[in-house]
C-alpha cells in the first residue's frame, strides 16, 4: 500500500513541476510520465485525464481556501445583516468593524496561501486552459455578495434596489481588487510574515479607496 501509492506520489510531484514550469496547456503528459519513470498508461490508471491530474494537485488546497472564505462570509453576513438599514454613523462604525474583521480574515487567508504557496501559484497563474482558469472570477463573485451588503450599509441604502449601475460596477471592481490583493501577495511575497506585513499597507489602500468611493460626489 505504501509501495502502491509511491507511483501516484511521484506522478503528482512531477506533474507539479511540469505544470509549474509550463502552465496547464503547454504541460505534456508524456513528459510528466517520463520524468516520473513510468509509462503514460500508469498515469491513466490513477487519473482520468489531464484535467483530473491537475485537479488532484489543487483540489484539497482549493477546498480549504473555499472553506475559510465561506466560513468568514457566513459570520460576516450575520453581522452585516444586523445593521443594514440603520443610520449612517452606525453604519460607518460597523464598516470600520468590518474592515477590522477583514484584516483578521485576511491574515488567516494569507497564512493559508503561504502554507500552500506552490499549489496556490499553480491555481492562480498556471491554470489557463483548465477548468480552474476562472477561479479568481469565482472568488470575486463570492466576495461581491459580501461587499454588496457592506456597500449598502455604508451608503445608508434601505435595500439592494437602491443600487445604481455605477454602484454595482464599483462594488464589482472593489471585489475584484480585493482578490487581486491576495493574488499579488501570494505571488510577490516570499513568506506569510512578509505577506502580512505588506497587507497592512494594502488594506490601508483598500479602505482609503472604499471611503473615497463612498464619499464621492
Amino acid at each position: 500500500m505504501d509501495n502502491e501509492k509511491e507511483t501516484k506520489k511521484k506522478l503528482l510531484e512531477c506533474a507539479m513541476k511540469e505544470f509549474s514550469e509550463k502552465g496547464y496547456m503547454k504541460a505534456s503528459i508524456r513528459n510528466i510520465c517520463k520524468e516520473a519513470g513510468v509509462t503514460t498508461g500508469a498515469l491513466y490508471f490513477f487519473f482520468k485525464d489531464k484535467e483530473d491530474l491537475f485537479g488532484n494537485l489543487v483540489a484539497d488546497t482549493l477546498y480549504g481556501l473555499n472553506n475559510i472564505i465561506e466560513r468568514h462570509f457566513i459570520e460576516e453576513a450575520i453581522a452585516t445583516e444586523a445593521l443594514s438599514g440603520g443610520d449612517m454613523s452606525i453604519a460607518a462604525l460597523a464598516a470600520a468593524q468590518g474592515f477590522d474583521d477583514d484584516m483578521a480574515i485576511a491574515r488567516e487567508v494569507i497564512r493559508y496561501l503561504f502554507k500552500h504557496k506552490e499549489v496556490i501559484e499553480l491555481l492562480l497563474t498556471k491554470a489557463q486552459g483548465s477548468c480552474y482558469e476562472n477561479l479568481p472570477d469565482q472568488m470575486v463573485d463570492k466576495v461581491e455578495v459580501h461587499y454588496t451588503q457592506m456597500y449598502i450599509a455604508m451608503k445608508g441604502y434601505k435595500s439592494k434596489k437602491e443600487l445604481t449601475k455605477e454602484d454595482k460596477f464599483i462594488i464589482h471592481w472593489m471585489s475584484h481588487d480585493q482578490i487581486d490583493i491576495f493574488i499579488h501577495i501570494a505571488t510577490h511575497c516570499k513568506n506569510a510574515k512578509e505577506g502580512e506585513k505588506q497587507m497592512e499597507n494594502m488594506m490601508a489602500y483598500m479602505i482609503g479607496g472604499w471611503y473615497g468611493v463612498i464619499n464621492n460626489k
Copy 2:
C-alpha cells in the same frame, strides 16, 4: 488594389475571430485558413509565422497606446520634477494636481481603448503564449517609474534612497492596480462613454487608496 488585398483582409478577420475565441495558443492556423477559404500556403505568403499574424492584428493599436502613455509620462515627469523635495502641503496640492492630470490622461486612454476594443481585448486577455503575453507587466513598469516620483513627493522624501522595502512594494501594487483599472474598464464596459463614467468612481477609489497609504501609520 482593393481586390488584391481581400485575401489578406479575410485572413486577418478570421485570425481575429480564432484568436479571440480560443486564445493565441489554442488558435489553429489551419482553422483560420479553412475559414478564410485559402490554403495554409497563402497565409504564409502574407505572414511570416503565427506570431507575425498575431502581431499584424495588434501592432498598430499597441504602438498607438504606447505613444499616448509615453507622451503623458514625459509631460508628467516635467511637472513632478518641479515639486520633488518641497514641503508636504505643496506636495499634496501638487499630487491633487497630478491626479487631475491622471484623470485627463485616463480619459484619453479610455477613449483609445474603446476605439480599438476588440484588439485591446485580444492583447490583454488572449495573448498568452505569444510575445505579447507580458504586456500588462511592461506597462506596469512604466507606470511605476512615474508613481515612484509621485510617491516620493507626497511622502516628502528628499530622494529615492529614503524608500523602504514596504514603500516600493506598495508603489508596485498601486502601479499594477492602475493598469488593472484600465483593463477592467476595457473588458467590462461596453463603450467609452460608460468607461469614462465608471472611471470617476475608480479614480476616487484610487485616490482614496493613495491617501490611505500615504497617511498610514
Copy 3:
C-alpha cells in the same frame, strides 16, 4: 516477445528500404510508416526522431567497424613506434611488414563490410543529411594518424617536424585513398570472397603508389 517487436522490426525493415532507395534526406517518415502499416505515432514510440531511426539501423555495424579499426591501430602504433627514427633500410623492411599487416587487417575489414553490406552501403552512400555524413572523413582522419607514422619511418625522418606541406598533402591523399579502396570494394563487389580477391590488386596498386611517392624526386 517475438510478437511484440514485430512492429519495430517492420519499421526498421521499411526504413532500411526507404533510406536505401532515396537517401537520408529524401526518405519520408510518412512513407516508412505507411509501408509498415502503422501510424507515424507508432514510429515515434520506438524512435526519437528521423536521425535516431537511421542511427538504429547503422549504430551496431558502425560500432563494430570502429572497433576493428581501432584495435588494429593500437597494435600498429606499437609496431611503428619501434622503428621511428631508425635507418632507412630497416624502415623499408618494416614498411613492407606494415603493408603485410595492412593486408591482414584489410581482409578482416572486408569480411566485416560484407557481413553488413546493406548497412555499410547505407552509411557510406546514403547518409547525406544525417549526422553520419562525414563518416568517411572521420575514418580518413584515423588512418592519417597511422599513415603519418609510416611515412615518417619510410622517409627516414627523425620527427614529425620534418614533414613538408607536400608530405602532409600526399599523406592525406593516401589516407583518403585507403578508405576509398574499402568503399569501392564494399560498393562494387558482390561478396567478401570477391572483395578479398580484388583487394590484392588494389593493395599492389597502393603499395606501388607509396613507393612511387617515397622515391619521388
Copy 4:
C-alpha cells in the same frame, strides 16, 4: 538589354551562393529569390525549374571540361592504338610516354578546374539530388575507356578479350582514382599553382600504383 539581364545575373549569383552553402537538395528557390530581391515568378521566367537553374550555373564549365577530356582522349586513342599488340618493352615505353602525356593533360585540367573553381566544387560536391549527381561516375567511364587501352598495352594483351574480371575491376578502380585525384586537388588546393605542385606527387603515386598492378603476381 543590359538591364534585363541584370536580374538573371543576380539570380544566378544568389543561386550560386545558396547551392554552395546548402547543396542542391537543401537549397531553397524562395531563398534565392528573396536574396536576389525578386519574386519566385521572375525566376521561373528565366529558368524552367530548379534543375534548370542549377544547370545554367554549371553547364558551360561542364561543357568545357568535357571538351578538354574528350580532345585529349582522341589524341591518346590514336597514339595507344598504334602500339596495342606490340611487345612489352615498347608498350612500357609507350606507357611511360602515356604518363607523360597524362601529366601534361592533367596540368591543363587542373588549370581549368581552378579557373572555374566555384562551379567545379558545386558540381563535384553539391550536386546530390540533381541530375549531375553522377557526374564523377560519368567521367570515370570516359577515363576507363582510355585506361583500358593503356592497360592492354602494358599487359601485352593482344585484344580486349584477354581482360579478366580482375583486370577490368582494377582498371575501373584506377579510372575512378584518377578522377578522384582531380576532385581531391580541386577541393583541397587553393589555386592552380599549388594544385600542379601537389599533382606531381599524386602522379608519382598513380604511376607507382599502375606498375604495382601491372607487375603483380
